[in-house]
Structures are given as C-alpha cells and as structure tokens.
C-alpha cells in the first residue's frame, strides 16, 4: 500500500499577499482565487516562509524568470522548508544549469519525440483498457487511484524496462519525495536511496543481459568527450524520468476526468467530436496545469519591476501564468475548443519538459479510451475529492459513479 500520510502542518495563512504558502490546505483545495488575489497585488509576491520565497503571478513574469538562467538557478527545483547541500547530478537535466544542461537534455530528447511516442501508443491503449476492465462492471470507481495513477506509471516503467507490477513502489517514492519531502528531509533521502538501489540492481542485470530500454540507453550513452556517463548521472536521470513521469501526468489525467465529470456539455461534445480531444487536452493542460517548478535566486535582479534578492527560492507557477487574463481571454473558463493557447504547462525556456510529448499522448489516449467505454459518469456525492499538495497538483481521490443508471 502507498504511504498516504500527509506532510506536517504549517501555521494557517491569514495574509495571502505577504505570507503565501502553497502547502496551505486552502491553496491545495482551490488555488485559483488565491492566484487572482496575488496577481492583482503584484506581478511578483514574496513570503518569509520556506526561508524566503518569491512567486511570479503573471505569464510575463513567469516567462522572464524561466528564460533567465543567469539570475535563477535550477539546482533547487522544489520549494521546501530546508535548503540542504545540493548533490551534483541530482536529477539531470532538470536540476542542471548552463552549460552542462544542454548535453544532458539532448541525451534524453530523442527517445521522447512525437514519433517515438506514436510507437508507444498501442501499448498505452492496451493499458488503459486493462485498467477499465478492472472496474467498469462495479458501477463506481476512484478514477484517480484506479485509472489515472496507473497510466503514466506503467508507461514510464515500460519505457525504462522495469516491471509495471512494481508501480506501487514507484508511487510511494514519488509521494515521499514530492509531498512528504517538502517538510521532512529524511523521507526524501530515504526514497532517493531506495530508488538508487533499485536502479543499480537493474543496471547490474543489464551488464550481462543488454536490453533496448531507457536504462540500457543511458548506460550506453556517451558524454561530449565520448566517455560513458558517470554512474551518478545515469542514476540521476533515471530518478528524474521515474519521478517526472508519474504524478504529473497522473494529475493531468485526473483533473481532466474531474472536469468532464462535472461538465456534461464538454463530455458530450468530445464524445460527438473525438477529433477535438487533442485541442481539448491543451485547454485542460492550461486550466489545470499540474506542475509548479522552482528556481533559486542566485543573483539580485528585477522581474516585472520587482526587486528579487539572492538566496530566496522562486515558486515558478506555470499554473498561475496559465490563468493570466492578459494572455488568455476568459482565463478562468475551460473553453475546450480554444484555438489560441500558448500555455506554459510544460514550462518555458531551456527546461521545457522532456516528457511533454509522452504526457500529451497519454492524456489523449486516456480520455479517448475512457470516453469510448464510459460515456456517462459523475462525481459520487457520497465520496470526497482530495488534491495533492506541493509541486504537482491533481486529484488523489476521485470517486465516480459510472453509467446512466445513477
């Protein structure tokens, strides 16, 4: 079973503009009005929490920071209560700054192109249908726990060449790193150590029995001097692929299904016009962007006229940028056929999500297969929807009633 314990509590927020906290239960439950309040106050707000942290609230301020690798470092990418020393090769390239970022990123890009994802698509359809087979007869399901969660975890396991049946193990590590680890260093370290040990075993196996999966790909990769990658780089990238590949897309699929469960008109339109699903996926990504990255200010500068001081963290909220009404008309509405949509759900600048093509494919397939087999569903009034806390936002419990007879 997954460890579903929650991180330690912070004092409740009473002044959002000067004392915001993205782990506050109010933010976790419904961050959208909070972002509007912060945006109305300033393009960049600050809190003393987390040892000092800024948050850009506008699309423009987020873009400025994402493109400024001189003043903002990626060595720390999660806003937490502590700032322990950062390990080299923590999770390249997401934790890398120029100039080492580019070669580390280029290494990972070829296996994640749209063409590479097309080859994976049949396996994804099969996984979605296997999952649906498991609950469709029950008439009700927790769609987060039994559907959305297992699609990305099985996809990335398939690509890495590790057993899909170890999914619950991976999910627990992610929870320990991205949620509990914000406030409890020991949980984070424990998960990182367990992951490294797990991958070392798989690396050993491949030395005698080579495979054609991503673990072998990284083991055989060469750096720009033609040398094999250091073991710490291979392990760091493997940890990144597993961490980044799971609860991000799990959250995006969950939020999409949550929206469709509450919005029959959108659901009916996508069933009638399945060709619209890729466009709708972009809008769902905009409206319910799961990922907020972080940066560390390493040199004093000014963002959208606001002074920013070194030593503070930055909550680089792509979700808040995507709700900026200056860039997106009716930003607070989900317009499933929105044509102009330069959303930043996968980040901006050199750290654009390596797995964005994978995530898009998974979301499209997950919605297509679900809507084909389960056109009618709604939230179960007897259950409770719960949302994750911290870096990645998405439903963790999503109780649905299935079918017309409700």
């Amino acid at each position: 079973m997954s460890d579903v314990s929650q991180p330690a509590a912070h004092p409740p927020v009473t002044d959002w503009v000067h004392d915001f906290d993205h782990t506050d239960p109010q933010w976790t439950e419904d961050p959208f009005p909070i972002w509007d309040e912060l945006r109305a106050a300033s393009p960049v707000v600050h809190t003393e929490r987390f040892l000092g942290c800024y948050m850009p609230t506008t699309y423009e301020a987020v873009r400025e920071i994402a493109n400024d690798t001189e003043h903002f470092s990626s060595r720390r990418i999660i806003v937490r209560d502590v700032r322990p020393e950062v390990a080299r090769n923590a999770a390249p390239p997401i934790t890398s700054d120029p100039p080492v970022h580019k070669p580390a990123k280029q290494l990972l890009l070829p296996p994640f192109t749209p063409d590479a994802m097309k080859k994976l698509e049949p396996r994804m359809r099969a996984i979605c249908n296997e999952l649906i087979d498991g609950f469709i007869a029950d008439g009700k399901v927790d769609a987060a726990a039994r559907y959305a969660k297992y699609i990305p975890v099985r996809a990335i396991a398939h690509m890495l060449g590790i057993p899909e049946s170890d999914s619950d193990l991976f999910i627990n590590w992610i929870h320990m790193i991205l949620e509990l680890g914000i406030k409890d260093e020991s949980k984070l370290l424990q998960a990182v150590q367990e992951m490294s040990a797990y991958f070392r075993t798989h690396i050993e196996e491949r030395r005698s029995k080579p495979t054609d999966d991503l673990i072998s790909y990284l083991m055989n990769a060469k750096d720009k001097e033609g040398q094999p990658l250091e073991e710490s780089h291979v392990l760091g990238s493997l940890r990144l692929l597993l961490i980044a590949g799971i609860d991000t897309t799990w959250s995006a699929i969950g939020s999409s299904l949550w929206h469709l469960a509450r919005t029959p008109a959108d659901r009916e339109r996508l069933i009638a016009e399945p060709g619209l699903i890729p466009i709708a996926v972009e809008e769902l990504l905009r409206a319910y962007s799961p990922v907020t990255m972080a940066r560390e200010v390493v040199k004093e500068t000014t963002i959208s006229g606001c002074p920013v001081k070194a030593g503070n963290m930055v909550l680089l909220s792509f979700p808040a940028a995507n709700r900026d009404p200056k860039v997106f008309p009716d930003a607070d509405k989900v317009v499933i056929d929105r044509r102009e949509n330069r959303h930043a759900a996968f980040g901006l600048g050199i750290h654009r999500c390596v797995g964005s093509n994978l995530a898009r494919m998974e979301m499209q397939v997950a919605l297509e297969e679900w809507l084909k087999r389960i056109p009618d569903f709604r939230l179960d009034p007897a259950g409770t929807v719960t949302w994750s806390q911290g870096t990645v936002r998405g439903p963790r419990q999503l109780p649905f009633l299935l079918g017309k007879a409700m």
Binding site: F112, T113, P114
Partner: protein, 69 residues
C-alpha cells in the same frame, strides 16, 4: 501581386514543444531532438494560411514568424 505567407522558426527560441508540428504538419518538421524548423522554404501553400497563424499563436516560446510577402 498576390500576397503569400512564409513561416520561419527561430532555432534559438524553439524548445521543442512541437505544437507547430501537431497543428500544421504540412508546414513544420522536427529534428532528432524534437526541435522544429519550417518544411522546405517555409512557403505556405494556398489553403494552409490558417494553420500557419494557428501554429504561431500556439507556440509557447513565440519562436514562429509568419511573414507576409
């Protein structure tokens, strides 16, 4: 003189979001890293003008120019 459109991807700005390729596959190509460039000389054939503008307005990096010639 008839006006025609040409698309161009700024290679320094493109980060491989691949929205242009998804929305206008006739006008853009991706390299082995998934980064985009215009197909051929970038000239937009009649009937594809909407797709050219759509690709421009969906590029998160604002890397696409649509040039009216």
């Amino acid at each position: 003189m008839t006006e025609r459109l040409r698309v161009h991807v700024d290679p320094d700005k493109c980060q491989g979001h691949a929205r242009c390729k998804a929305l206008a596959p006739e006008l853009f190509e991706l390299d082995e890293y998934g980064n985009a460039h215009e197909a051929g000389d970038g000239i937009v054939s009649p009937g594809l003008e909407d797709k050219a503008w759509l690709a421009k307005s969906n590029c998160p990096e604002i890397a696409i120019d649509v040039i009216e010639e």
